[in-house]
């Protein structure tokens, strides 16, 4: 069974206006009858919050399991479909559902349930507050799942690390016509180059020095081109291999406009070798080389903004992405891959480090999400001909402390240090806001190149 789209409800955004229910009634009514809405928004007076009753299109629908007439069935499209020709109106399905997702409609004379309006749910379209969202990420995962996984089945990452996700999903899309460079860091440490003389992936992969990744890819790309072959030159590097030790070759290749797709997996330090600081490490953070003691209180410099530095090179494409926002990441990977056929494409992925940042291994995606929601890590993309665009609204962020408090590496921070980080985040925010304002855009914007693949509502 594959994953399928779902309608997500955010109670905090709902004000009970009822537009969704009216839209449903309009969509489902006929001349013969006025339909009962398949979505109900209800207020719980005790908690003061709005609740929802709507079919969740369960993966393992109990309404269907208990139906004595086999009138309910989960289809390949993900919809639990009701068959009026088989239904006997016994209502046992309503005993099987704990969401209020299927209910008897006296006017219509039978049970009714949501069918997501054949992929265009009218309730979601009618919601002006973003309380209802039609989440199609699952479709993307399915599509990605059909692409060949080009890494070996086992990669030796730390528990909870999102880098394996990044590596596999990236290479699935970039495909087999690729030469991959993975400079020293977590990625070869996890096994990209393999062990004991065996390769870790199904494409040609090599292990450059920390300093020369972009130079070596330059030569490889040019040599293949000379021979008449168009291969993708892909780098999967850490922030040290990209922005510190490897920066001169990266900067040179970007400036020359080499046709390379360079992906930086930023875990804010040299985590593979024992969590030493890098130029991307946040001010105040604990690392092995910025310890906490009687006088030392973590790193004393701010992180440099590597993706912005890359933007100023005038690359073909530069973007930041997060594994908490996979649709956005996919769209940017698509755009970056396309741009790398014309010039230099740089993709910067925020990668929380479970071991080096000191947080529970189950929280990686949540940490990544909070980084974005607090504007600690702002998602944007830049095209040479269009300038910089913000991928999400950054005007109402969560407090930065909501992010800081998740991480052990910030546990020692005092009020002055927190204020420093907040100020830095605000400054970066302002710079990006002004850069984005240089290129006015529509409220709703399609991110990425392949508009058929994914449309992202930027106001989410």
């Amino acid at each position: 069974m594959s994953a399928t789209p779902t309608i997500a409800f955010d109670a905090a955004r709902c004000d009970g206006c009822g537009h969704c229910m009216n839209a449903c009634v309009s969509a489902k009514s006929s001349d013969a009858h006025r339909a009962q809405p398949r979505i109900q928004i209800l207020r719980d007076d005790e908690s003061g919050r709005w609740g929802i009753a709507q079919c969740r299109q369960c993966g393992d629908p109990r309404c269907a399991s208990v139906c004595p007439a086999a009138a309910l069935e989960k289809g390949d499209d993900g919809i639990v479909a009701w068959d009026g020709k088989r239904c006997v109106n016994c209502l046992i399905c309503t005993a099987g559902c704990t969401f209020g997702g299927i209910a008897f409609s006296p006017a219509e004379g039978h049970v009714v349930k949501c069918d997501q309006c054949e992929g265009a749910p009218q309730c979601v379209a009618a919601c002006t507050r973003g309380a209802l969202r039609y989440v199609t990420t699952a479709t993307l995962y399915n599509r990605w799942g059909e692409l060949e996984d080009l890494f070996v089945p086992g990669l030796g990452g730390c528990q909870g690390c999102n880098t394996e996700l990044i590596m596999r999903h990236t290479l699935r899309r970039v495909g087999s016509n690729t030469v991959l460079a993975t400079p020293p860091g977590c990625i070869p440490g996890m096994g990209s180059v393999g062990y004991n003389g065996m390769l870790g992936c199904k494409v040609p992969v090599f292990h450059p020095l920390l300093t020369n990744t972009a130079s070596m890819l330059t030569g490889i790309r040019r040599q293949y081109k000379r021979k008449g072959r168009n291969v993708t030159a892909l780098a999967l590097a850490g922030d040290g291999g990209a922005g510190d030790v490897g920066f001169q070759s990266l900067s040179g290749a970007a400036e020359r406009g080499e046709q390379i797709l360079f992906i930086c997996v930023d875990n804010e330090g040299y985590m593979n070798t024992g969590a030493q600081r890098s130029g991307s490490t946040t001010y105040g953070a604990w690392t092995a080389t910025t310890p906490i003691g009687e006088s030392a209180r973590g790193k004393t410099q701010d992180a440099k903004n590597l993706p912005l530095l890359m933007m100023w090179h005038g690359c073909e494409y530069v973007a930041t992405a997060s594994t908490a926002f996979m649709e956005d990441f996919y769209a940017k990977l698509e755009a970056a891959l396309d741009a790398s056929q014309r010039g230099f494409a740089y993709l910067h992925l925020y990668s929380p480090c479970t071991s080096g940042w000191r947080f529970p291994s189950a929280s990686n995606i949540e940490v990544a999400r909070k980084a974005v929601e607090t504007n600690f890590a702002v998602l944007w993309d830049y095209r040479r001909d269009q300038g910089l665009k913000l991928s999400r609204d950054i005007d109402a962020p969560l407090p930065v402390t909501e992010y800081l408090k998740l991480l052990g590496k910030f546990r020692h921070l005092d009020a002055t240090q927190i204020a420093h980080i907040e100020r830095h985040v605000a400054e970066q925010e302002q710079v990006l806001r002004e850069l984005a304002a240089m290129h006015p855009r529509e409220r709703r914007q399609v991110v990425g190149h392949q508009s058929d693949l994914m449309a992202v509502d930027l106001d989410q």
């Binding site: 109670a11 109900q40 209800l42 207020r43 719980d44 007076d45 005790e46 908690s47 919050r49 709005w50 609740g51 929802i52 009753a53 109990r62 399991s65 208990v66 004595p68 007439a69 086999a70 020709k85 088989r86 006997v88 109106n89 016994c90 209502l91 046992i92 309503t94 005993a95 099987g96 559902c97 704990t98 969401f99 209020g100 209910a103 008897f104 006296p106």
Partner: protein, 420 residues
């Protein structure tokens, strides 16, 4: 001797759900399902609609053959278990063949109970449990002038309505003093009974049948201390008894049904049981009737299947909660959970709206502020949500009043918050 990793006896709700649960965790193990019937599985719950003609018999199969094929399950019809040898993990079938199993699920359901009434074995009477029963009853109902139904449970009431619609003069005889005892209280039952009366069905409660005797074109039913009653058609709907005849000497303990633990394991090694064959413990841990409930059979089947396959996600079966959705003459009655006992005590609270002559009747039963039961006639709510609120022992607090006012909306709003 054939050998399977899993053998499931019975292909109704519990057995089918178990198959799915087993396959969800064990993609390779060999599975056979043995069904007594000679046709695709049919739910007993759908049979009244076959009797009424609302559904044709070729449109009611619970699963098609392809479903079993997709799950890679060896599905066999007309396979009767005759004896179980749990010490050697072997089943003997009625045709003499033997099948070995790694793990066995007993999901053979129940058969109609035939009450000890003098003369009953001498007359032709109907029951309603299999498709053949339904077809026979439908045929007989077409020409029945005078029909007597023994038992005012769900099967009896449903069938009586269908017979009345087909034009028969129907009398229901129930030995308890109300219809649908155990499902609804006396007030709710009276509302339902009135609907039958209004539609020309005679309902005699608190009456026993002393004897039955054959007569031309039917039989005569002699009521205890009363007048005889002639019938062209006699339907016995006096409940069911677990189908356990093949378990004699098997090592599987049977009381009112197969005795199981919280993971549906029987007392014999590698033997599980689920559905109507089981002696279902009550969720409330009291004498509240449990078992014979379709959604409950599904839960038991899933629990058993997951337990058999060693699925680490398996959770203990919480116990049965009575749960019924009953439609009669275009109206609806719903019941979930248990009623308050006669001498309840201060921890019990009963909220009621709608007495005689009102549009609707609703009763909500609480203990220590937690939902125990909801009973409604002509009131709609989501039984599935009420079930979940009972299982979770949710404290309703001030919400109880809202629940009485509008049970559907109030329970949905509460449940929605609990899911987050």
């Amino acid at each position: 001797m054939e050998q399977f990793d899993y053998v499931v006896l019975g292909a109704s709700h519990a057995g089918l759900e178990a198959l799915r649960a087993i396959r969800a965790h064990d993609s390779d193990g060999s599975i056979a399902v043995l069904d007594r019937e000679a046709r695709l599985p049919v739910s007993p719950t759908v049979l009244p609609y076959v009797v009424s003609g609302k559904r044709r018999q070729d449109r009611i199969a619970l699963r098609e053959r392809g479903w079993f094929d997709d799950l890679r399950v060896d599905y066999r019809q007309q396979a009767h278990a005759a004896a179980l040898d749990s010490a050697h993990s072997r089943l003997r079938l009625a045709d003499g063949s033997e099948i070995g199993y790694g793990k066995l699920l007993l999901a053979t359901g129940a058969a109609p109970a035939v009450p000890p009434i003098a003369g009953l074995s001498d007359v032709r009477f109907h029951v309603l449990r299999t498709l053949d029963d339904a077809l026979a009853l439908r045929e007989a109902g077409r020409s029945a002038g005078r029909a007597v139904v023994l038992g005012a449970g769900l099967v009896g009431m449903h069938a009586a309505e269908n017979l009345a619609r087909a034009g028969a003069r129907v009398t229901i005889i129930e030995m308890r003093d109300q219809v649908l005892p155990g499902y609804f209280d006396a007030t709710a039952a009276a509302r339902i009974q009135a609907a039958f009366h209004d539609n020309g069905v005679e309902v005699l409660t608190g009456r026993r049948v002393a004897s039955v005797a054959p007569r031309a074109g039917g039989c005569t039913v002699q009521l205890d201390g009363g007048e005889p009653c002639d019938a062209n058609l006699l339907l016995v709907a006096a409940g069911v008894r677990p189908e356990v005849s093949y378990l004699a000497g098997s090592g599987v303990t049977v009381e009112r049904g197969v005795v199981v633990d919280a993971f549906m394991r029987s007392t014999a090694a590698n033997v599980w049981a689920a559905g109507d064959v089981v002696q279902t413990p009550s969720f409330f841990g009291d004498a509240t009737p449990a078992g014979g409930i379709l959604p409950d059979a599904v839960e038991q089947g899933r629990t058993a299947g997951m337990s058999m396959a060693g699925d680490p996600g398996v959770r203990a079966y919480p116990g049965g909660v009575s749960l019924n959705t009953y439609g009669f003459f275009g109206r609806r009655a719903l019941s979930v959970g248990r009623d308050a006992p006669q001498q309840g005590g201060a921890d019990w609270e009963v909220l009621v709206r709608g007495g005689e002559g009102s549009d609707a009747y609703l009763k909500i039963v609480l203990r220590d502020g937690r939902l125990q039961g909801v009973f409604g006639v002509d009131v709609l709510f989501d039984p599935g949500i009420m079930w979940e609120l009972i299982l979770r022992r949710v404290e309703l607090g001030a919400r109880a009043k809202a629940l009485l006012e509008n049970p559907q909306d109030a329970a949905r709003a509460l449940m929605s918050g609990l899911w987050r």
